[in-house]
Every structure is written in C-alpha cells, then in structure tokens.
Amino acid sequence: MQDEPRPDEILATVANFLKGTATRETGPHIAFQLRVAANAVEICQRQLTLSPKADAEELARLRALLGMDGDLMTLNRELARRIKAGQVTLDTPGLADHLWATTLAKLAVDQPNYSGYRAALAERGQV
C-alpha cells in the first residue's frame, strides 16, 4: 500500500501551484503555458478520480450492445466497425443512449467547462 497523499491530491496541488504562485511570478508568454500545463494536470486528476467507474459502466454497456466480450479498446473498435458497415445506426436500440453516456463521461474528464458540454447537460436535465 502506498502512503498518503493520494495521486489525485498531489495533482490538484500541482495544478493550483501552476495557476497561482508560478503564474504570478512569471512573464505573460510562460503564464499562458502554465495555464495549459495546469489544465493538463487537471485532466489527469479528473481521469484518476472519474475513470474507474465510467470505464466499468462503458464496458458493461458495450458488452450488452454488441453481445460480445472484450476490453474497452476491442469493443470500441468493434462498435466503430459496425457503425461504418451500417450494421448499427442511431436508430439501433441503446446506441444513442450509450454514445451520450460515454461522451458526457469523456467530457467530465477532458473539459467539464466546455460550452457544448454544459449545454448538453442542461438540455438533458442533468444539471
């Protein structure tokens, strides 16, 4: 067992350092890069926190939808293949719900402040 602090706690502190002290003490060009770096660290922090549950749910949905077993990469490749081949469409029961759940889970990690994500949550009554 690794000791405390947890990785997500460390990353949150690094992001705050980059956005706070480090940004205040530096020039405008580097300040922009520090914001980008802080953003990258926060993506990792959110992924560590949110992905275990989101990945498990995505895997369960994919198994049900495709009627086969495999890891996330294998099943996503198979889903992509079936959509390309026209075997699965947005009218296929379960597909739209699956894609919505998966996409919203990705955005919660990648860019939770993105305008299109906020709008989708509002439209779907999830905020």
Binding site: Q33, I43, L99, T103, L107, D110, Q111, Y117, E123
Partner: protein, 344 residues
C-alpha cells in the same frame, strides 16, 4: 533555395537581419520612404512567421506586416495549403471583389533575401474571439456581424475562379473522404465520429450550381473586428480551395468558434438566418437549410479530427498544448451528438 537568413543567421539576432533586409526592400520598392523602424516578431508559427514594422516616410510611420515562411526557407505548397505567393494573389483578388482584406504592398522576390512571403498593410482591430463575443466595446456592432459575414462571404465567392492561382478542387464527397483518411490514420476508435461520417455520407449535398473560391477557414478568430465597423479584414487564406461555397457558411457556425456563446451559432455573435439573408442580398446563391447543416456537421467533425490528429506532434515534442488540444477532440463529439442525436 537555401535559408534566406544565410550563414550569419545564428551569430546575429534574427530581428537585426530582418530589419537590415527590410531596409533594402524599402529602398528598392518603396522609393519615397527613408527606411524601416520598430521591427518586431509577432508570432512564431510552425508554418509562417509574422513580423510587424514601421515604414518611415516624411517623418511619418506606417505600420506594415511581413508574412514569410519560417526562417525564410522556401516552403513547397502542400496539397492542402496554398503557398504564400498564391495567398498574396488571393488577397489582391479579394480586394478587387470588395471583400475586406489587408492591402498587399509587396510580394517578396529572391533579391529581397527574405525568402518566400509578402508585405501587407497592418489592420488595427481585435482578433480574439472571446473578446468579440463578450467585450462591451463590440456590443453595438455585434447584432450586425452575422449579416456582414454573409455579405463578405458573397463577395469572396464572387472572385473569378479562373483568375485565381491554381487551387485544389474539392467536392463534398472528396472532403469527407479526405477527413476520414485523417481520422483513420489516428488508429483510435471513435464511434461518435463514425456516426458523423455515416451521416455525412448519407447527406452529401448536390454539387454546387457553380464551384466557387472557398476561403476554407472563415471563422471567428481569423477575422479582424473594429468596434464601429465590424469586420475590417479577413485573414489566413492558406486553406483556400475551389468547391462548394456553403462550406464557408457552415464552418463559421461550428461550436468551437462560438467561444462559449452556444446560442449564437454564427461565430458566437449572430444568427444563421441573418448571415444567410446578408449572403443572398449580396448576390450569393440561395441558401438551402439542409445543405448548410451538412457543412456545419462537417465543420464540427473536421475540427474534431484535427484535434485528434495532434497526438503525433505531441509525442514528438515538448508542447503540452498539443496534448491538451488532442483531448479537445471529445468537445467535438459532444457537439456532434447535439447536432445528430437529439437535443441541440
């Protein structure tokens, strides 16, 4: 052609060399001037350099912009991008068609020693999209911008294709195939992108009545705005091609260019109907709603594939930004879901 900056480039500051050569350009091509001043680099882009300097004449300074290939190296125009000389030719044609563009003052020649590129007027104004959609300075002009964009696009699409430099011709089907190839090169499954490609394949618009010169990157971020006049210049013509003019009307509506104002489809500042009305009133072909929607979906997918395509550049270098941009591909997935699967 070798590096125009020559062997001394590393020993002396680049700005000193550029200033010296711009001085000669002023002497040879702007005979009334007495030289240049305040030479400064504005961007360090991978595909071009932008420099600002002052042309001095009768004690007055006129700001000008130098756009040239990086390090003065000769850049071969790729299949997707037009070369800098062609871009200068397009700016001249656009000015003739009464689209607002910076006036080209000089196209570089080998004797100038500055590589490939051109010198144009500096146009004062704002380019940052977030400010255009939020800054109170633009509050008065904002309601007029969508119509104005339509009028400007009509002017651009009037540019006679046979007078333009040789540009690639791309049909809707060819563009979809081209971006599918880029997506497949990432070797990463994206079921939402697959849905979007399938939708585009099923909704290909008929060929345009007449293929037009398409700007290719007409969006908030590539336009210069002034608080009273609205759009005062259209920049970045390097993705110009010949094809379906509706492509330009769809691209400016893609959500990433709305800078957070999701309910203002045109660049985050206006309504589609206003842009279409301006376009038609200024002589553009009648806009078909489904046809426009095809290009809006295409634009969203195109930007998504561009983001996803950042992975090799991220892994090859030290740019954190490219990695973060790659993670923005999912933003386009949510935009595509809103466009194609219900709410939005």
């Amino acid at each position: 052609m070798a590096a125009a900056d020559g062997p001394s480039a590393e020993a002396r500051p680049q700005s000193e060399i550029i200033a010296e050569r711009l001085h000669m350009v002023a002497h040879n091509h702007f005979p009334a001037s007495t030289g240049v001043a305040k030479v400064q680099r504005l961007t360090a882009g991978a595909t071009q350099e932008i420099w600002r300097f002052e042309l001095v004449q009768d004690g007055l300074e006129t700001p000008l912009i130098l756009r040239r290939s990086p390090g003065g190296l000769r850049r071969v125009a790729s299949s997707a991008n037009v070369g800098l000389e062609d871009e200068a030719a397009l700016l001249k044609l656009a000015a003739k068609a009464e689209a607002p563009v910076p006036k080209v003052r000089h196209v570089l020649t080998p004797e100038d020693g500055l590589g490939q590129g051109f010198i144009m007027e500096f146009v004062a104004g704002e380019t940052l999209g977030g400010r255009i959609v939020r800054d109170p300075r633009f509050a008065d002009v904002r309601p007029r911008l969508a119509r104005q964009c339509g009028e400007i696009l009509a002017a651009i699409h009037r540019i006679p294709v046979d007078e333009a430099p040789a540009l690639r011709h791309s049909s809707a089907a060819e563009l979809v195939d081209q971006w599918r190839a880029s997506y497949e090169a990432t070797d990463w499954p994206r079921p939402v992108f697959e849905i979007a490609f399938a939708w585009l394949d099923a909704h290909l618009p008929p060929p345009p009545k007449r293929p037009r010169l398409v700007h290719g990157d007409f969006r908030n971020g590539n336009l210069i705005f002034a608080p009273e006049k609205g759009v005062v210049a259209v920049l970045d013509w390097e993705l110009a091609h010949v094809g379906d003019p509706m492509e330009d009307l769809g691209w400016i509506c893609a959500n990433p260019w709305r800078f957070g104002q999701v309910d203002k489809p045109v660049g985050g500042f206006g309504e589609r109907e206003d842009m279409w009305a301006g376009y038609e009133a200024a002589g553009g072909d009648p806009v078909d709603r489904d046809h426009a929607r095809f290009w809006e979906v295409f634009g969203s997918l195109r930007w998504g594939v561009m983001c996803a395509g950042m992975i090799p550049a991220f892994r090859a270098g030290e740019s954190v930004e490219r990695g973060v941009i790659a993670r923005r591909a999912s933003e386009n997935e949510v935009d595509l879901m809103r466009l194609l699967a219900g709410n939005g």
